[in-house]
């Protein structure tokens, strides 16, 4: 059964870019992401953040979180510095209210900027 609209929890979608020498696969990233969240906020905090990796293609990704916990999610993303044996860093491109917005406005614009560095 669908949740009543008034009871539906508001979510935010964080678009991010992975900066790494080698490509990180989805399973490795999800494990590291949850590990970082458990380490920072524990099981209770992670359940409140309600994270989920919505999309990931090896370079860019979209992470879901609760509306009022975006700062905590940013902190957990910033704490990821190593996946497997590789050093990585995650750069947040922006936060959107819909997956579509995160994909089209943030990720696609970032790719366009990278390919055409002269144009802003």
């Amino acid at each position: 059964m669908k949740t009543l609209p008034v009871l539906r929890e508001k979510k935010r979608y964080i678009a991010f870019k992975i900066i790494s020498e080698n490509t990180i696969n989805r399973r490795e990233l999800t494990e590291e992401l949850f590990d970082s969240m458990y380490s920072l906020f524990g099981d209770k905090g992670t359940s409140e953040i309600n994270p989920a990796l919505m999309s990931y293609d090896g370079g860019f990704g979209v992470l879901r979180c609760q509306k009022d916990r975006t700062s905590d999610t940013r902190a957990a993303l910033a704490c990821i510095n190593r996946v497997g044996g590789d050093s990585i860093s995650i750069r947040v491109l922006g936060i959107s209210g819909t997956v579509k917005g995160a994909m089209e406005k943030l990720i696609q614009q970032s790719i366009i900027k990278e390919t055409e560095p002269g144009k802003d």
Binding site: I19, S39, D72, R74, A75, C79, N81, S87, S89, R91
Partner: protein, 223 residues
């Protein structure tokens, strides 16, 4: 206007030796939203520095370390060179010697900061540094200790009106974090958004201004 439209600086960057690595580090810093850095091991008289982007500033910083007596001598030696002087507060003795010596700019992450040190640091206008990199690179018990130290330091900084500086102490392109992430990490130990933004923009700019040759010291009147 968003708070994050300011110019941001990181004051404790370890630069690599090779020029290619320096260029990639600088472009990473620019991509993450920084307008300038202060490098700890910048070699003076480098001829190839003009390869770096013109709209990015690199300042020289020096980390003074050692026993309390050596630390005082080092601060006195470098005080008029215009370089940013940073001391790491490894223990109470070193932190005390550092804050007591005038012209030091930043005392980074002092381990046992207290009201006495807070008062002296306030009198000597020394900024209190928070090493956000220690939250990123540690886990478990060690990170708990770092967070506890930062929480206590923040309390003294508020009480004695100390300026606060945030750094993530980057050594490579993977160590940079954008100002918004730094503010989010700062919120883990209770730092407000404004304090975090000031610690990366206003306070570093103030330190740069103080170090410039035309600066007139507080308490001096031109007749």
């Amino acid at each position: 206007m968003s708070m994050f439209n300011a110019k941001f600086y990181d004051f404790m960057v370890h630069l690599p030796d090779e020029m290619d690595s320096i260029i990639s580090l600088v472009s990473a810093a620019k991509e993450f939203g920084y307008s300038g850095i202060a490098a700890l091991n910048l070699k003076k008289n480098r001829t190839d520095m003009n390869q770096l982007p013109k709209d990015f500033s690199i300042y020289n910083a020096i980390e003074v370390s050692g026993k309390p007596s050596k630390l005082r001598d080092e601060i006195r030696k470098y005080k008029d060179t215009g370089e940013i002087l940073i001391a790491r507060g490894r223990n109470e003795e070193v932190a005390r010697a550092a804050v007591e010596t005038e012209r030091l700019d930043i005392i980074l992450q002092p381990v046992k900061f207290n009201n006495v040190l807070g008062k002296i640091a306030s009198d000597n206008s020394i900024a209190l540094g928070f090493n956000i990199g220690s939250i990123i690179h540690t886990r478990g018990e060690e990170r708990v200790r770092e967070l506890r130290i930062m929480r206590a330091n923040l309390m003294y900084a508020r009480k004695y009106d100390l300026q606060m500086v945030l750094t993530c102490e980057p050594c490579s392109i993977y160590d940079f974090r954008s100002p918004r992430e730094m503010a989010a990490l700062g919120s883990l130990f209770g730092m407000s958004l404004k304090e975090a933004v000031d610690g990366m923009s206003t306070v570093p700019l103030d330190i740069i201004r103080k170090k410039s040759t035309g600066h007139i010291q507080e308490g001096v009147e031109i007749i």
